[in-house]
Symmetry: C2
Subunit: 223 residues, 2 copies
Amino acid sequence: MAGTNAPAPRWTPVFERISDDKRRRVLESAKAAFARDGFAGTNVNRVAAAADISVGALYKYFRTKDDLFLAIIEESHALIESTLARIFAAEPSFFGRVEAILRAAISSSRDDPELVRIYVACTTEELSPLAERLSGSIETISATQYSRMVAEAAASGEIAPDVDPAVTAFLLDDVFLMIQFSFASTYYRDRLRLFVGEAADDDEAIVAAALAFIRRALEKRPS
Amino acid sequence: MAGTNAPAPRWTPVFERISDDKRRRVLESAKAAFARDGFAGTNVNRVAAAADISVGALYKYFRTKDDLFLAIIEESHALIESTLARIFAAEPSFFGRVEAILRAAISSSRDDPELVRIYVACTTEELSPLAERLSGSIETISATQYSRMVAEAAASGEIAPDVDPAVTAFLLDDVFLMIQFSFASTYYRDRLRLFVGEAADDDEAIVAAALAFIRRALEKRPS
């Protein structure tokens, strides 16, 4: 969009000139590999083979494995931004938004578990130098949007007036993030099951319980 | 302890016969390497060199790199169990316990960030087959203890009687875990800072805000 500081893309101009279909194949193969094998365990030769291109071609599209990984993470930022924009436009009320975000956390994890698995990989210590090279971060989007959402609801009297918007946004995101992890990653799905048993398969029960918890934590009380 | 089903140790009998000092050196070197480089990135030759032993000796103590990794994760289970037992014995009230767990989440992460970083590594998809080989799990301890703590407080009237112990335990652990991550891992520390700014250095502010959130979410209301 004109006027925004769009970062330089991670790919080369050559990648922009290939067919949509080939571009999609390259990104999907890389995403599947990073999600399954992690960054260190991903072999670019196998990514190229799965995308049905030569490894030489792959290096013409992305100069390094780092660039390929970062491109995929950054793709997910756009997705989060558009999801939140859609929810905020459709839902004027604070708790309506929280409920919609909880549902989106579950559905996005079910639709695209690989992206969430790559996010988990990206939080490991050995990848922190790589994560620091991200042009922006998922966290910047969430921190900004959730803090504003809380501050507006506190100002309008929709939630308790004395909550700290920044720490509240952090606590909300803790819950949203753990729910995303729980519906995408093998480790966190097993963890959810240990905590809640068969309710782990009952999305509505999880949404209702998390919403009730957040509602009670933040709603305005009679003074 | 007699009567418990202690799992077979990950190490060999030879490892039990070496000096305490050498045992500690081996475990500390391995912990540092796994925390910094991840599982795939850890080189056992370098672990042996850092512990001032031969790689041949290391393989006499641990048959595989998997065993060495699992031994370190399992060591942390004992730590969590004893921390929770100490808190539960010292703090009879529900919110007193929650506050003590929040403080312990921060202090344990500051005291031993490497263990938390290894935990984050252990949740990645590529390590899920390894994580499934754990004799028990941190999650089993937390799920059991927190569910019981919530159920008891609901029964005694200390918190709202209608909360679901299992899902509430999960949500509480989401917050505890994210606070642990935030005080140990580079990625999550940066995330906390994005959300709360300078308050990220103010442990007391974080504890107070999280406790207030949880207290409001769970306290009994006048009917």
